[in-house]
């Protein structure tokens, strides 16, 4: 119902313009609270010292890297099944953001790994699958950039995104498959979180802040993409109008 109303790009632009300031303000507040809690509330680890603070960037970025792919997968379903006109705009706008979050989680992870494990990179199952996710994001972006027509590019990328969605559960459960250096999942578990509240709360606030940041950037990127497509259509129309003026004389 609401989603169908948004099928009109003009209405979407109007609504998102009204929504964006509120979302951006909420995002700034969440980051302010989250960063304050990270540096002043959350305790230093008795073994890791202050380096444990990297976790408050690393873990939300990794979560968002996966959530962003889920958003793309749902948008791809929207493209292929419901033929929603904004679904491929949403998927295309989400891809670079997801790639950026994946890169952030890889970089913060290796910066954290250097003092903890003594090396920037280990070929651990989870690190490897996040790297694979990063390559998949870049491959999808490359596919979008290679196919010229945006509609056809959107459909091709939707097929690839859905095939890649099979990879998401592999990332999530790879820790259990190949149990190696990386610690097993400790927040999302059946028997409740195993970490202390003074660490958990800053982490959750930071996760909220990252999620809001994602939605702000996603909406802005979607607006840009809609405007870019309108520009492309206007350029094509202008070009064909010029040809249309020129051809009657040539055809006579």
């Amino acid at each position: 119902m609401a989603i169908l109303d948004l099928a009109n790009p003009t209405r979407f632009l109007a609504l998102s313009a009204r929504l964006l300031p509120w979302l951006a303000a909420a995002c700034v507040i969440a980051f302010a609270v989250g960063l304050y809690m990270t540096f002043f509330v959350a305790p230093d680890d008795y073994q890791q010292g202050a380096t444990v603070k990297i976790m408050y960037l690393h873990v939300p970025a990794a979560w968002l890297a996966m959530m962003c792919y889920s958003v793309m997968a749902i948008s791809s379903l929207g493209t292929l099944i419901w033929k929603h006109p904004l679904a491929d705009v949403s998927a295309k706008a989400a891809a670079p953001i997801g790639a950026a979050f994946t890169l952030i989680s890889l970089i913060t992870g290796s910066l954290w790994g250097k003092p903890m494990w003594g090396t920037y990179w280990v070929w651990d199952a989870r690190l490897t699958s996040v790297l694979v996710l990063f390559i998949m994001y870049l491959g999808l972006i490359a596919l979008w950039r290679t196919i010229e027509d945006p509609i056809r590019a959107g459909k091709a990328a939707a097929v690839l995104t859905l095939v890649g969605a099979i990879n998401l559960p592999i990332i999530k459960f790879s820790v259990d498959w190949w149990n190696t250096l990386h610690q097993p999942a400790s927040v999302i578990r059946m028997d409740g979180p195993t970490i202390h509240p003074t660490i958990l709360w800053p982490l959750l606030v930071m996760a909220l802040a990252f999620t809001l940041l994602f939605f702000v950037m996603h909406l802005m990127a979607m607006r840009n993409e809609i405007l870019r497509r309108r520009l492309r259509t206007m350029q094509l129309q202008a070009a064909s109008a010029r040809v249309g003026v020129a051809t009657p004389q040539a055809a006579e």
Binding site: T146, V159, G164
Partner: protein, 223 residues
């Protein structure tokens, strides 16, 4: 029903094996990759025996990737792909038959040449058998997954590099279980059957996902 499938299979196989098909170039490429490896890592026979199964698997993966752009490209260039799309046959089955023929033309020669090439890598007879068996079970999965990339890039000029980038992430599980199964056959305590059965499962999954997704991509590329 099966008449057109057999005819299509034979057509694809003949086209790939005869002059201009270039199916057996994959085996030559495989040989070239295996020859280059000792120059890179050194001629130590013990080391080569250790990494041999992995090298053979990577060589087979690369050879498969390079041959994939022939899967739909030639048919699109001469227009027969449009005829196949309009023929009214189930496109998924058509893609599956094309993949099977492509595998028999390019994948099976890789499997058959692997035992010969593994002599260069100082593999024991047991390891040779394990690598050949895992390649036999696993390379169809590479072709079937690769069909998705081939279908997505069929309308592009020079889409081969993009194809490889798109397909490589999805081929990683096949590589993991293929190499660990062939490694497990040699080292005693780890079981061979578990990764081998997972490899077989990956092939079966890709026999469903590959043709369905590739057919979808082909339909979108035609309009």
């Amino acid at each position: 029903m099966s008449g057109w499938m057999g005819a299509l299979f034979l057509r694809e196989l003949r086209l790939s094996l005869r002059v201009g098909g270039g199916a057996l170039i994959g085996v030559l490429f495989f040989l070239a990759v295996i020859t280059v490896i000792p120059f890179g890592v050194g001629p130590d026979l013990n080391l080569l025996a250790l990494i041999g199964p992995a090298v053979l698997w990577i060589g087979a993966l690369l050879a498969t990737l390079l041959g994939l752009d022939r899967l739909f490209q030639a048919d699109r260039d001469d227009g027969s792909l449009d005829l196949m799309l309009m023929a009214g046959r189930p496109l998924e089955v058509l893609v599956l038959v094309k993949c099977l023929a492509h595998w028999v033309g390019t994948g099976l020669p890789l499997v058959l040449s692997a035992p010969v090439l593994s002599i260069f890598l100082n593999l024991e007879p047991l390891a040779i058998g394990a690598v050949a068996l895992t390649l036999l079970v696993g390379t169809p999965a590479l072709t079937l997954i690769g069909a998705i990339g081939a279908a997505l890039t069929v309308s592009l000029r020079r889409g081969g590099l993009l194809l490889a980038v798109l397909v490589v992430p999805f081929s990683i599980p096949v590589l993991i279980f293929g190499v660990s199964a062939s490694g497990a056959a040699v080292t005693e305590p780890t079981p061979f059957l578990t990764p081998f059965l997972l490899l077989a499962a990956l092939t079966l999954i890709s026999a469903v996902v590959g043709p369905v997704a590739a057919a979808m991509a082909l339909r979108f590329s035609s309009d």
